[in-house]
Amino acid sequence: MRLGAVVVVGTEELIFTKERSASECSVSTNLAVESSNAFLNEPLECIDIVGRSLVERAIERFAAIDIHDVSVLVDSKALLGVPNFRGSFGSLTVEGVSNLPSAMSRRFADYSREGVERSFVIAANTYTETDLLDLFCFHRESRQAVTNTFDKEESLPLWVVDCVKAQDMDLSGLLNRTHTNTKGASNYFIRDYVSRLRHVRDMRRLTSDILRGRCQTGPSGRQVRPGVWIDYGAEIHRRSRIVAPAYIGRESMVRADALITRCSAIERNCCIDCGTVIEDSSILPNTNVGICLDLREGVASGNKLWNLERDVMIEISDPNVMHSNPGVSVSVTKQRKRTMVGGAALRESKPNGHSMAV
């Protein structure tokens, strides 16, 4: 039996609350999402977290159980954030969509024609480590059109659907997770690790959990000593100090006398200049941090810094302090955006990416 998967990219509220009334939306959640968007310009799930984005981690999980028909549906408002995939995936398609339910219905119709009977659907901003095969077996035995998932807090944006039956369903109602008692749906409870990315604070928590080994997924790169992961092409000065657990991403540079400590992650193509201390922080891709600075409990991206202790974002105009490092990956993202911005029907096949080699 062939299985498919649909991975939805774009801020959850942008996609899933179109059909909701204002009263149903959590104000605090929306504010958090809006403020996170202002900070990052792209959805959180497209940003590298210890080497790989949540989109890529979701695709990897499907690939691990031999699901090769994977579609990534990207909300047209989030096209700038089309993720870079470092792994190679067989028949992965990435599609920009303006109307998610109709795009999903189309995808399920395609899957049915291709002989894919059932499909997983997941919003990539939620990371869960549930046993996908067990979930699939549960769905098959329940003989329902759709299986909803829950954890101890609320319903999760992860479903298994019957591709034929799902075409006739009200998909917007299905995706609107306030309607959990959908007719013809069964419910599956998840007890495993779950992380929802709604705020940069959640991203820090997930980074910390990955580095401390609290979840199954691990950092990219090679573990050079217990708790210290160094990715391909990273340069670390012999006079710098990396205190475990920590991650230094691809092509990143840590200069003399710098200190990286307490669950800090330096993502790809970053530079931490001489004497700077990075403590309990994430430095997002393509960020240069200047000399002799002290960055604590924060997330830095380009010239923006979100301090989690005070919950405040500052934009730094002085490039000597912090600035964006225009790397190769940025231009690739821009190029991809130009290709995809044409409309919902435009589809781009993803060629094989570069496999990780450390």
């Binding site: 919950d311 405040v312 974002m313 105009s317």
Partner: protein, 134 residues
Amino acid sequence: MYTPGPVIVMELPEKLTHLEVRSFLDEMQPLLEIDRPCVVLDCSQVQSMDSAGVEMLLHCLQEAMKRDGDMKLAAVPPASAVMLELMRVDRLFEVFDNSEQAVRSFQIFPSVTNAQSQPWYGAAHGLTDLKAAG
């Protein structure tokens, strides 16, 4: 004996970037050239501060200290506090919630909180025993 002079409270402008720093320093300079300047910078209006602003604060502190005075900060907004922390200068300044507290801090002498301890030859140490022994 140290006698504190008048405390000068200055309100910092909304923007403390390299464009505004020059004019503010021109205003500040005469105030820092008096003997033992006691300055409070009220940061409540500051909305953005860059490295030039931090440098200006350090310059003012240095000038005040040269003349045996001091400079304190009041009502520092979170964003400016993050900037000071990032550039490792937060520890150099005394920071208060508001300018009144900062002004008072120049005027109040620290009270002696620890009472003088008992002399070593007190009763607790067995002086009477010593006398008796003598």
